[in-house]
Amino acid sequence: MSASATVLLFAAYADALGTSQLTMPVGDGTTVRDLLAALAQRPGADRLPPSPLVAVNRRYASVGDLVRSGDEVAVIPPVAGG
């Protein structure tokens, strides 16, 4: 099985991409920035901001952070709890 990460989408971002979960390939040195660039190629991704918030394995991450096989990457719309 090839190396991949699970990408989770929520709320307005899930509506934009038409799905709440994707599996995306990762390799040695793949970063959050690389995954976002690949995500931007998908239909509907033009409705996402250029630099959305991202969490890796349920913690907020930076665009330079590495993504490894099996990681859970969440693309997080502006939060609106309360």
Binding site: L8, A11, A74, P77, A80, G81, G82
Partner: protein
């Protein structure tokens, strides 16, 4: 201390009883409820969605921070998700402390950090039948409490 993301109706009175202790002379309670107007549009209801696993952890971190900063272990917070009606409580926070000032401050800290960090989103239902995810970045973002 305790925190939870729940799908059942919130019971603020139960949170007050949970934090009560005779060591504490002050209890602060914050309850957030679904209101009927947003940016001039009539709202009829609200859906709350959470990235539950991360929201539970982030909320637990915030409550633990409040406990450390304000010197009381008597802090509980629950946030509800799912379909809520007007007037329903979406979030409830109770803090008991020996004194009132840090009780208020800790309660304020939890709600402000929750609104800044916890991955929860809400979709408003409007009187005209349309629905829209709330994007708070259009307005001033709440600042972290000091």
């Amino acid at each position: 201390m305790r925190s939870a993301i729940v799908t059942r109706p919130l019971d603020p009175g139960a949170l007050l009883r949970e934090v009560a202790t005779t060591r504490c002379g002050a209890t602060a309670l914050f309850v957030g409820t679904v209101r009927d107007l947003h940016d001039g549009r009539a709202v009829t209801g609200m859906d709350y969605e959470a990235y539950a696993a991360m929201a539970e952890r982030e909320l637990a971190d915030i409550v633990a921070e409040a406990v450390a900063r304000f010197g009381t272990g008597q802090v509980v917070c629950e946030h509800r998700t799912g379909a809520l009606a007007l007037g329903d409580a979406s979030v409830a926070i109770a803090v008991a402390h020996p004194h009132r000032s840090p009780a208020f401050d800790a309660c304020r800290y939890v709600i402000e950090e929750l609104k800044r960090r916890v991955p929860i989103w809400k979709r408003e239902h409007y009187a005209d039948g349309t629905r829209q995810w709330v994007d708070p970045t259009g307005a001033a973002r709440p600042r972290a409490a000091r």
